[in-house]
Symmetry: C2
Subunit: 320 residues, 2 copies
């Protein structure tokens, strides 16, 4: 019995920054690497940076017309083109043409984000079946030295047909969400942590391509359950804020009866669920427009099979 | 010899929030008070909230066309009106008409701001001669309980003719700059601190109006010296970030030779001035567009004379 997962070698890697134009670690790194590619190079593949939403970067806003990172549905990417399409829909198609389709399609995609929430280094995936990116995430958790910003595995467990995120275009992909960092700000600690994570991720891909086998392992994953909205008044304005006891407590267990909001008149409001959950993206600035206060996750435990290179036709080596 | 400063009673107070549309403590409080004025009322004056830049608030951006808080020069306010004027220039004139000119002009103006920098509760003035607002600031420093967010006096020492800030329209005024808070986010601790400061400020005005005399005192003030720009490459992009040793160190003495930046290639850059200074607004998101990394201040010591109510013609009481 062969219990390894096997994938073909990774030949093309793309590192996206500025998918949201005001999340500055990725913006800064993508711009820097566009001027000097050397840091991204490894022996066994090519890697290139891409500033995903340059107009939003220029204006230092999340998006111009609509959220680019919700434009990568197959439906939008393949719908008839119109001059009046929102800027980000056009830009998503450009990105898809360049990196997501045909023979030159990206094998591995990094997408670099920041959050105003206290999310540490969050390794976000939208596919529970991409074992290569799970191994990469595990490698990052075990190989990066900076313990002041812990790594978390985060899963938006959706089917491929429902995937609207940029990471939908890569065969394999990982989104880095680092915080807390205000929009529009570059903090040295967050920047260096993101840079280290990308570099260690590229090292992992290089090792994988060279035939290194990675043993099976177990990992904790925070899987999205639901969104919690701010309490609102009759005009739609929020009428409460995140409770001081919940502020910054991303990934900390939330128990039934714990306070979650404080209203402007000073009352506490409590979590009324029946199970322990793990709040994430608490007080994320970008989610206010949808009145989303935080995102609830459950912690699940995964067994990840061992990983090795799939030797392709024409290559020497044993069949898998 | 009478060493008191005397001013007429304060009859009209305006509390501005949302002068910058993404600084959410003031936005939230102004909206809240517009729906329920009761909290702002005192015996001896009327107070009203004003959402200064409602279009920017709606879009959760600093400004639409240009910074409203740089539009209150006498030149702009009094220049011929044109349909093509930037939105904020039009809005500044509206605010000036309603609150800044004629017999119903505001006697005291609060302007509520947030910063992404670690500025605590900064009490900002643009006039070194407004002793009433200095007494109010001193009252806030001595009467508000929350020691987790220290109060600092901050002075932009400019002549009235050079004053382009909203606080230019009030006879007396104080700007509150509370941080750190990301743009677009409402944090409970910052919100309650700002609310407390405004309420204590209104209490002070009420006491002053009732004839309470306030003794002379001494205060430390951080007076603006100069702006320090980010190092930039030949394309105008920043090529360094705030040094980790300087991050969050607003109001902490900066000595000659201390590190201030770390370049993307890992080099430290140092403060080359010859005197101890006090950096402020370190890494403020809104200043990136002007490449401003922080603002240097010097700490000065002020003697503030005693304060009392000026009894006006027709009132009973002793002449000053």
């Amino acid at each position: 019995m062969n219990s390894h997962m096997a994938y073909p070698a990774i030949s093309r890697v793309v590192v996206f920054g500025g998918t949201h134009g005001n999340e500055m670690s990725g913006v800064t790194l993508a711009k820097h690497w566009q001027k000097d590619l050397s840091e991204l190079q490894r022996k066994t593949f090519t890697a290139e940076p891409c500033l995903a939403n340059p107009h939003a970067v220029e204006k230092c806003v999340r998006y111009i017309d609509q959220d680019l990172n919700r434009c990568f549905s197959k439906e939008l990417l393949c719908s008839p083109v119109s001059e009046s399409d929102p800027y980000e829909v056009k830009r998503a198609r450009e990105i898809y043409q360049k990196y997501g389709s045909g023979s030159s399609s990206s094998d591995f995609t990094f997408d670099l984000h920041n959050t105003t929430s206290n999310m540490g280094a969050t390794l976000l995936r939208c596919s529970k079946d991409d074992f290569l990116s799970m191994h990469l995430a595990n490698y990052l958790q075990n190989s990066t030295g900076d313990q002041c910003m812990p790594c978390y595995n985060f899963l938006i467990d959706i089917q491929e047909k429902d995937n609207v995120y940029l990471q939908n275009i890569g065969k394999h992909s990982l989104t880095l969400e680092l915080g807390p960092q205000p929009q529009g700000v570059v903090r040295a600690d967050v920047l260096s942590r993101m840079r280290e994570l990308v570099n260690r991720g590229l090292d992992f891909i290089d090792l994988f391509n060279q035939g290194k086998e990675f043993p099976s392992f177990e990992m904790d994953v925070y899987r999205v359950l639901s969104r919690v909205l701010y309490p609102q008044d009759s005009t739609g304005d929020i009428r409460a804020v995140i409770h001081p006891d919940l502020q910054n407590k991303d990934y900390v267990p939330l128990k039934p009866g714990d306070p979650i909001f404080k209203t402007f008149s000073g009352e506490d409001m409590f979590y009324e669920g029946e199970t322990i959950v793990y709040p994430t993206f608490i007080d994320e600035a970008a989610y206010y427009e949808k009145k989303v206060a935080f995102i609830l996750t459950e912690k699940i435990h995964c067994n990840v099979p061992a990983l090795k290179l799939e030797h392709q036709a024409g290559h020497l080596g044993t069949p898998k």
